[in-house]
């Protein structure tokens, strides 16, 4: 009935110019059309992003001097990386290892066990050799990270370097932001009166430029002249400064980061929740399911893919955290809140460009491995479940 109606309608009106173009283009081979959709984006990304990437990789292996006429780049091989991993920057980058606490031992054993089990399962499950090799590499990488994390955080006399600090920021931050973002997005789709107000308000923190947010939070967290001063005094922390304690400063960064980026999760998940297909929900309601069942069995699976995407996006962005630690404490106290990007920035600011590129390259490798593992592990499961 619908088909007839629309065909009849269309026969009645002469096709407009635009629709004639579209029909012609649409009539071209599927290949051409499909290419037309994606090539503009690919070309733009290729021209702006890819070349700088190669240059950045190259700079990591070079010493760069600013001389008259431009840049004087000469190859020094692994020297920059040597400084980071075993030389003068090692304690800033990797941290200082201590002697493991019992909890540390537990975590290491559990972690390694988990990795081994995953690998064995894959092998038994009939994954091809190439796949196994990649998984093994990922496991090795993961084990090294775990080793470093445990030896700096769960050890006596250990002090985390920028790598571990960044991981701490990312993991806690993204987890908090996702939980809050999802919860708030859900609450705001319940149809409660006044929800428009909340929707707009919850978007606000993200609208402020990150540097501005950093300054705002440094104002707020000032125990002396900040607005929370009476609160601090009441709790007995009047003479304490979070900026003096390593973990206090880190928590301050995480708080600021969560404040600012929860809206990112919120807005994406909100759109996802609102964009759900109403049919299954209506059907379930008719069947007598209550709100909670609908949430658990229909909504969650429906937004699972986009939830994974937004987590991945936020993960990638979170690794680049720089403004908050830089403005709050310049990476201090000491180097307690210095993230990898901040370390690269400090090196770059005094024009130690090669070193800065090396640090950035390490960050890139770290994030790429994590992203690849994430995408492979979780999205495969999402597709399988869907």
């Amino acid at each position: 009935m619908t088909t007839e109606a629309t065909s009849a309608n269309r026969a009645a009106k002469p096709p407009g110019f635009r629709s004639r173009i579209e029909t012609w283009v649409g009539g071209q081979s599927e290949r051409l059309v499909s290419a037309a959709f994606i090539w503009p984006a690919v070309l733009l990304v290729l021209s702006i992003s890819v070349f700088p990437l190669f240059v950045a990789l190259y700079l990591g292996f070079s010493d760069v001097e600013l001389v008259r006429g431009g840049f004087d780049i000469h190859w020094i091989g692994l020297d920059n990386f040597r400084a980071l991993f075993s030389g003068e920057d090692k304690s800033e980058f990797l941290g200082v290892s201590g002697s493991l606490t019992p909890l540390g031992w537990l975590v290491i054993v559990a972690g390694l066990g988990l990795f081994a089990w995953g690998l064995v399962k894959a092998a038994r499950g009939g994954v091809a050799l190439v796949g196994l090799v990649f998984r093994a590499l990922a496991v090795v990488f993961g084990a090294m990270l775990l080793w470093q994390v445990v030896h700096t955080l769960l050890a006596h006399g250990g002090r985390p370097g920028t790598v571990v600090t960044t991981l701490v920021f990312v993991c806690t931050g993204v987890a908090l932001q996702f939980g809050l973002g999802l919860g708030l997005a859900y609450l705001v789709t319940l149809g409660l009166p006044g929800q428009r107000f909340f929707r707009v308000v919850f978007l606000l923190p993200m609208t402020i430029t990150p540097v501005g947010v950093a300054y705002l939070f440094s104002m707020l967290m000032d125990t002396d002249k900040g607005p929370l001063q009476p609160l601090f005094r009441a709790v007995g922390l009047g003479n304490w400064s979070w900026a003096n304690s390593a973990w206090g400063a880190r928590i301050a960064v995480i708080v600021g980061d969560t404040w600012q980026w929860t809206p990112f999760m919120f807005i994406v998940l909100l759109a996802a929740l609102e964009g759900q297909d109403p049919e299954p929900i209506e059907a379930a309601v008719v069947d007598g399911a209550n709100r909670w069942r609908v949430l658990r069995d229909i909504t969650m699976p429906a937004i699972f893919p986009i939830a994974l995407t937004v987590i991945l996006l936020r993960l990638i962005e979170a690794f680049k955290v720089i403004d908050l630690p830089n403005v709050l404490t310049s990476g201090g106290p000491g180097t307690a809140t210095e993230s990898m990007t901040l370390q690269a920035y400090i090196q770059w600011r005094s024009l130690d460009i090669g070193m800065s590129a090396a640090t950035a390259n390490c960050l890139m490798i770290l994030v790429t491995v994590i992203a690849v593992v994430y995408v492979n592990l979780l999205r495969r499961r999402a597709v399988a479940d869907a």
Binding site: D222, D224, S241, S330, P333, G334, L351
Partner: protein, 497 residues
């Protein structure tokens, strides 16, 4: 008849036109730089940028040159203008920047040699500028490259009213400083019923703390005059860090934290100035800004309660051969005052203007004229009395003329005190010139700063910090070339080889 009238009218019109056109010509002849645009870059103010922006229109009226003040965030100024100059982009014709960077700009040829222009310029009254700034901040290897507009060096400020009330003498040595700070820490210094602090020094990382340490260490490290140098050994380029003097300075620096606000390690000068001018500190260690900020009722509750002294010194100095501390004698400390060796530290040097060598001649002339205009006493002597300009005194005429300061709001006593401290610092033959070699930003801003921050946070021990700084500095020196750096360092100290 009518035709005659018409002719007469035409004749008059032509005469009038001729008269006005020649009048116009003579007017434009008085504007030497009409049609020239000068792009000046500095960091976003209001300090430094404000007086430049304020006076640009007047300069335009005088000379016809249009001056654009372009500003960039302070922490990114260095790499932005160095990249701009090096890559040949040349967006800027003049730079108002940190003379410490001369080591990176002059050898590469980015700056115009101003020696002949300065010699020919009577208005700038070059000899009125303090000899220290003339010789060390404006000159590099014998030639003049910058026009000083500001005099930067550190002093100690104290609550004159309280010390006078208790008959305590202002500190002459750092031990005195510590003793007094300890005594007043926790007492109420501004009458609001809450305990205040003995000492407020900006210790935040990537802020200004890496200058503060040399204000303390300098007196232990340098005693034979500016040319002795305080950062490196002039002959070997070995860092003067791993010795008993610097160790003692680190200990003092650390101890001041005990008598300070709890988050002092995260305070930069904006915060410490605010604290001092609202009466909450006995001491502060800072550039000249507190003097002018203290008289502004918008920012200060301690008008006329502030005293200034040259940096406290030390009765012991480092024997560079042994690395140990030895007592001050006429031989070891020829410039000692009452047995105490003072080494006022010209931290940062003082914002100065330089001209881009790659601009065309007319623009360069106009740029130099603008910089000279800003530095001329008629303008400069007013600007240095205003806290918001960020310009601190650097000319002899600025110290002698008390009336300027009294007009700005200082009491006669406060002005004498403030200017006296500056004058004594400026005239000291043992003044320390800040590090002015290539990669100074890396030596101080990265290696020294990071080690200091880690030391204050307890991440590393004092001796480890000294080793870390020494190794870091040596690695930079070796990368650039030891001989090259040695020549640059010696050159900056104006040692003619």
């Amino acid at each position: 008849m009518k035709r005659f009238g018409l002719l007469a009218f035409l004749a008059v019109a032509v005469l009038v036109a001729a008269a006005t056109s020649t009048g116009g010509n003579s007017r434009s002849a008085a504007k030497p730089f009409a049609g020239v645009t000068v792009n000046v870059v500095t960091f976003t103010g209001p300090q430094i940028a404000e007086p430049l922006q304020r006076r640009a229109p007047a300069f335009n009226k005088l000379t016809g040159a249009k001056v654009n003040i372009i500003t960039v965030p302070f922490s990114d100024l260095y790499e932005k203008i160095l990249t701009d100059a090096a890559t040949g982009t040349n967006s800027y014709d003049a730079y108002v920047f940190d003379p410490q960077w001369l080591g990176d700009f002059v050898p590469a040829g980015y700056l115009e040699d101003l020696t002949s222009r300065v010699k020919a310029d009577k208005k700038i009254q070059w000899n009125d500028i303090g000899p220290f700034f003339r010789n060390f901040s404006a000159t590099f290897q014998g030639r003049t490259y910058t026009v000083p507009m500001d005099g930067d060096f550190q002093m100690v400020y104290y609550r004159k009213d309280i010390l006078a009330r208790d008959h305590v003498k202002p500190p002459a040595t750092w031990d005195d400083y510590l003793a007094i700070a300890k005594r007043y820490n926790g007492k109420d210094l501004n009458g609001d019923g809450k305990g205040d602090y003995g000492s407020c020094i900006a210790k935040k990382r990537a802020a200004q703390s890496y200058w503060m340490i040399y204000s303390i260490a300098g007196a232990f490290l340098q005693s034979l005059g500016t040319k002795q140098g305080a950062f490196f050994d002039v002959k070997t380029m070995q860092p003067l860090i791993q010795n008993a003097g610097f160790a003692r300075a680190l200990d003092i620096y650390n101890e001041t934290t005990k008598y300070a606000p709890p988050d002092e390690r995260n305070l930069d000068v904006g915060a410490t100035r605010g604290l001092f001018t609202s009466g909450r500190c006995m001491f502060s260690l800072d550039w000249g800004d507190i003097g002018t900020l203290a008289i502004d009722p918008k920012t200060s509750t301690v008008q006329n309660k502030v005293g200034s002294i040259i940096l406290p010194g030390s009765r012991q100095v480092v024997n560079r051969k042994t690395g140990k501390l030895v007592a001050c004698t006429k031989v070891t400390c020829p410039y000692a005052i009452n047995g105490v060796n003072h080494a006022p530290f010209a931290a940062y040097g003082g914002w100065s203007g330089a001209v881009n060598a790659a601009s065309d001649t007319k623009t360069k002339d106009a740029a130099y004229a603008f910089l000279s205009y800003m530095s001329q006493p008629a303008q400069a002597n007013v600007d240095v009395t205003l806290g918001k300009t960020g310009f601190n005194p650097y000319r002899a005429s600025q110290f002698k003329n008390l009336r300027l300061w009294i007009k700005a709001g200082m009491s006669k006593a406060a002005a004498e005190d403030y200017l006296g401290a500056i004058r004594r610092s400026l005239q000291s033959p043992n003044m320390i010139l800040d590090l002015r070699v290539p990669k100074a930003a890396q030596y101080e801003g990265v290696v020294l700063d990071t080690a200091l921050a880690q030391f204050l946070a307890g991440e590393i021990s004092r001796d480890h910090a000294m080793k870390q700084i020494t190794d870091g500095w040596n690695s930079i020196t070796d990368k650039v070339g030891r001989d090259k750096q040695r020549a640059a360092y010696a050159g900056s100290l104006n040692i003619q080889k």
